[in-house]
Amino acid sequence: MTALLRTDAVSKSFGGVQALDGAAIEVAEGSIAGLIGPNGSGKTTLFNVITGYEHVDHGHVYLGGKEITNSAPDKVFAAGIGRTFQLTRVFSRLTVMENMIVAAQRHERGQGRLRNPLARAGGPATRRRAMELLEFTGIAHHSGALAETLSYGQRKLLELSYVLMASPSIVLLDEPAGGVNPTLITMIADRIRQLNEQGTTFLIVEHNMDFVMGLCDNVTVLDYGTAVVSGPPGVVRTDPRVLDAYLGTAEDDDDIPVG
């Protein structure tokens, strides 16, 4: 399998803190990859660097062989990388459907003809697709409601839905199971699997070890901004360096992996 997403020796520091230190990860096309590590190990920073929210100090980011290092977030999204945030960030004063349409813009363009810039947002095709996705994630009956009225779990589902609007080739999920009830966790895992079967690649940051180990084909462990181990869940689970990474930092007791 070829690597769809690859970071090559990416470094990033904030003042004196070295958040990423030569982090090199690879996500195989068509896989579900996991990214784990203790708090502060640089997982979210790596997401930010890949999606253009932070600039790298050194290193490169490639998507399907094309370099996208330091591209702006809108360009990264257009290139085919969708992402969600650790704390849900939906457009609270827009309706659920409007949230979906915001992400749909690229989808509607490129019809060859000049579009009327003041045409009503979201043509029939866009709305149909948005509705399909909302049904897929189970929040279709809220399509007319303001996003601020959704529960936390529903917001997570909305984030997943609107990211899918542009049919990204890879989706980066930042703690999709965090703060979500067990039933919903199972459902989210199901949906991820279904999308993956249809060809979407995933890279998932998650603290819920059952979730990661049960879902991912490949898991990479980040520690102090460096990828220390990468491999199938069964191998990573028993690797002494992983236990070391988690147990080495005294504050992170609740992050001890299973096994």
Partner: protein
Amino acid sequence: MSTDSPAGTSAMKPARRAAPGGRRGLLLRLGGLAVLLVIAVIFPLVITNALYTQFGVDTLIFVAAVAAWNLFSGFSGYISLGHAVFFGTGAYTVGLLTEHWKVMGGTIFALLPLGGLVAALVAVPFGLIALRVRRHTFVVITIAIFFIFQLMAFNFAFTGGNQGLSTPFFLWTAASYNNPFYYVGLILAVGTIVLAWLIRNSQFGLQLLAIRDDEDRARGLGVRAMRVKLTAFVISGFITGMVGGLWWFFIGQALPETAFDPTFDLSVALMAFLGGFGTLSGPVLGALILEPLQQWDAITFTNGYVAEILLGAIFLVVILFLPRGIIPTGKELLTRWQAIRARRREPVPAGAPPGTGTAVPAAPKTGSVR
């Protein structure tokens, strides 16, 4: 590689968004707007007192200005206190062109788009600088740029310095002198409101609202934030420039401190906040209430302090009781009242334990506040 239709979807249902309030609500709304428009059109024909038609022109100037301001600031959340730059630029541009080309009569109004155009050209570098920063910093930068422009108006030779620019005399009959200004003001005001409505429902407008709610998230969903913000800023500046030009014709003189007036932006912002910042109708309502009140206030209480104290008291009342503005708060009260009525009418479902009939949830919030 990418998914075109996700698995597990049931039959495709066309997503039709119901108009808030249903068909009857929509008709009611359109009817109300038509009545308002008719009243606005016949107002100067029925009420010929020049004092009141002058109130009318002033009000329309502010309706157009606040609608233009809201189209940028209200939709994007970037509060500009530098729109007087466009107002003054429009006024001076139209003034200088009138002087230079010796334009007279009704053709003067043809110069307004040129005033708007120059204001829009000013908006491009202004926006490119100011829109790089957000929130408080953005507000401060717009104020700073505003003062730079006022200083330039004071000090350049071509602006007439302290003397400003005076309009030529218009040879219109005194009885209906205000009417041409009134109708041009009405066209500007209605045109801006219609444009704001179109933008609100377009993809461009949705992107602006997304930027208001969470700019970084919007960028991560493909919104080219800078381009979208700048476009709205320039459109807003263009209209404000035209409004400034009309104001100059009407007032008859542009001075650096009246064309580039710091209280212009404060008035516009307060009107928008009074009616409902970011809504379509709120800012217009704010202007319709506040501008006539300000005018009436100024002539009733010739001691300027009383007028200002009264206005200050009104603002206090608004902040205490309508912090989000008339339209959003009013809408919320209406929804709550409807929910209470629905609860009273709802019969207890058969077979349900007594008491559950009162547990009908309040009407869900549907649709954004308009």
